[in-house]
Assembly symmetry: C2
Homo-oligomer: 182 residues x 2
DNA sequence: TATGTTCCATACATAACTGTATGGAACATA
DNA sequence: TATGTTCCATACAGTTATGTATGGAACATA
């Protein structure tokens, strides 16, 4: 039992999971029937049984990511009561490390308008959540919109930078958070 | 005399200019000999006369962008004396609008390590420039690194967002700049 | 206008991927 | 174990790209 599972036959979900992994690791250019089949050690017959064509596969994949991203936000919102209302706490969790899948999705969105559309919707959800945090932190209403955008952009940009040479320390984040909620 | 120039024969520079335009408009996936030749209304014979192969073309294209990006920074630095030393002034110029070429380059870098390498170098140059601005603005040395990174990330993230639904007003930027140089 | 250089068209061989059609294997269940 | 359903392999046709080889057009200059 080496590798990832020893199942003989694949489900649609198997394909989509593998698709998301591939997207994160190799980018949207690798979302093709032939290479995907190879890496799953099956023929394209399997792919074309589960999906009508590449477009449908990518559409399903995108929906899969959207649901996942949205669920994550909802889970975060449910935790808003104690600690996480503080901006610094959120930033210490979110403003660090890499996110290959997010980065790949962003890159994909640059060349695919359907992806861009979905990404835009997810952005709205996240921005709304972040705005709530700022409001709860007591940021003046007139400042909420711009600061929310600024923080969100910053995380995005951080994700797009290849290596994170500039890892933020706790003190760094506390300093920034203090500014941004003043 | 319609369209872009009526020259009969193309130079290497013509090809590279067209490459950068294509990159900005259609993304790195369109940097292929066949489509590029089509849109220039010549055969691939022209392409393969000027460039050994696709890799060499892309390498030249990347060098072209790097030089341009670096020159831009140098030009900015030369202007540091009056107005531009103020962070707000810089942000009013830089933190607005779209930048399709930059966005396409970033997306490209996600899937091509050579591109990522070059982008990383350009990032360093820009970050160093931005840090100078913050220092000149009187930001405490201990805060310079994290705030520089934060601002740079924010511009990057802004570029990666498809439409700029959240355009910053002068007041927004002045507010943010005031925070970030305090 | 003759000539060498620069640039391009065309034809060919090769590779990777798409999508379809068809037969058959694997599986669950009666 | 018989049977219908689910899943996959294989073979084929078509598309789009790469890179090379070769001949010839366009150009500058003597």
């Amino acid at each position: 039992m080496y590798g990832t599972s020893m199942k003989k036959r694949l489900s649609k979900t198997d394909w989509l999971d593998h698709g998301l992994r591939t997207l994160a690791v190799s980018g949207a250019n690798s979302l093709k029937a032939e290479p995907l089949s190879r890496s799953l050690k099956v023929s394209r017959g399997s792919f074309y049984w589960h999906f009508k064509d590449i477009d449908h596969f990518q559409t399903d994949l995108l929906a899969c990511w959207k649901k996942r991203a949205t669920d994550d936000i909802i889970a975060e919102i449910k935790k808003i009561d104690g600690d996480s209302t503080r901006l610094a706490a959120l930033m210490k969790k979110a403003m660090r490390g890499t996110d290959d899948l997010e980065r790949a999705i962003r890159s994909w969105a640059t060349e695919n308008s359907a992806v861009a559309e979905t990404v835009s919707i997810v952005d709205e959800t996240r921005l709304a959540y972040l705005a709530e945090i700022l409001i709860a932190a007591g940021v003046a209403p007139s400042q909420v919109r711009s600061r929310t955008a600024f923080i969100y952009w910053a995380r995005l940009g951080q994700i797009m930078m290849d290596v994170n040479k500039t890892e933020l320390s706790d003190a760094d984040i506390e300093g920034l958070a203090k500014l941004l909620q003043s």
